[in-house]
Amino acid sequence: MIINNLSNIEKKKFYVIIIGSGPAGISTALRLEEKKIETLLIEAGDINYRPESAEFLKVNSIGDHYGDLSGNRLRQFGGTSGLWGGNCNPMNYNNFFDWPIKKSDLDKYNDEASNILNLKEKFFLESLNEELNIYNLAWSNVKFGKDYLEHIRKSKFIHLSLNSTFLSFNGKEKNISSINCRKGNKDFKLMSKFFILSCGGIENSRLLLWSRYKDNKLFSSKLPIGNYYMHHPYHFVGNGIINYKKLNNYYSEKNIVNYPIVTCNSNLYVEASEQLLNEKNIINSGIYINFKNINKNNDFIKQLSCVAPKFIKKLYDDINAKDIYEIDVWTMQEQEPIKENCIKLSDELDPYNIPLTKLIWKKLPSEIKSARIIMEEIGNFFIKKEIGRLALENHLYDQNVNYETVSGNHQMGGTRIGINEEDSVVDENLKIHGLNNLFVTGSSVFRTSGHSHPTFTIVQLSLRLADHIIQYKTKKNF
């Protein structure tokens, strides 16, 4: 149900208050609703986008060019899912190397997460050879705000308050007792047993940094809030030509069952195998091979004719065949978590006098090295199997060549998961170290970023968090 007047619930003690109604907040609320647990969902924005909400999301970006973050986040019901691309894939086994939870802890929620995201396709990961894997993305058409509004409006257990901005936590001795929030021109104190912060990859850190600044007795000074911020650098790495018939024959030879059917503008996704990652000591990258119809007159084919005349002559015998495609290759990369890439509080204030975000972010040398090694493996594979040829961008070989990464869509880290407060903010159950009843969910808890699109993992983590809170209710030990 939608709560219009917060005065009516000021004296009510909820079981859970969730701050932020993006994919993380809504997924958690839906799971708690299944167990008839009452939640209050606080959303700072409205049902639809309001331009003035961007005043709260301004970022002072320092370091490498990050893209325009004002277009990457939404402060409205449903959060940033209002503008997302809908791509989903789970994190790999090896991404969890340093996490206090395993991939299998999240895999339990695959079906439920797929259901929430309305995914029609099953995920696959196939070994192409010893060095490379192919995988797929599943596409979600869900916009959380649009698709779950009616459900929440009718729900007896999910209470939604829009245009309600979180201001601060109240509490003492490891327990949060209430939050202060502003709706219209009035401030309210709202009580609950548990509190969940789910405001997105950057806002979670900003609000926690602000909360610690306001009450340094409640939050440990050791917590590395805002540190180990990560992003998925996405950049163009090369182009090439591919004989899809030969690639198909290779799939048959190797008994590869799952692979994408190629048409113009479709994608083949390739990543490094665990063996290659360990052998070369690199971080992973998702390699996005985009297929285009071949055009004999374009620059790339002309250049290929000069550089590899014998190859192109041989290819010309088949060039009218529909099996030959030109390819553009992009990479979406994992980024090493380092302390120096971080979120801090800016000197500028938002309209409610809370400091805005200062983001310090740099590209790292390991990204280019890793992209180069994986691309060379793909190029060598194409040559050995006579599948095609690749031409790689100069910036993979020359660090003086500048390259642009596209956008900052995936914001991760800042309140990362771990076993102690020296190097992490939340524990394996997403509870903030040193506090009894404040949890964080969303991509800010990622300890490593992998190269997967984060939303599927965000929903898995949120469902797991909801189950953890359900356990408290059923055990009645709180």
Binding site: C306, V307, N394, Y397
Partner: protein, 52 residues
Amino acid sequence: MKKNKRNFIKFMVTIIFIPLFTELSFIKKKYIKKIIKKKRFSKVWLLDINDN
């Protein structure tokens, strides 16, 4: 004389030609798999040595 000629041919085939062709085909096989990087048109091309 006939026997010597036959032995000579046998010698040539078994000792000289077969190893020579085997060696050549082995070299050729290695030669085919040689992968080269070539900088041109502001790109680094990953090519087979036979492409050029």
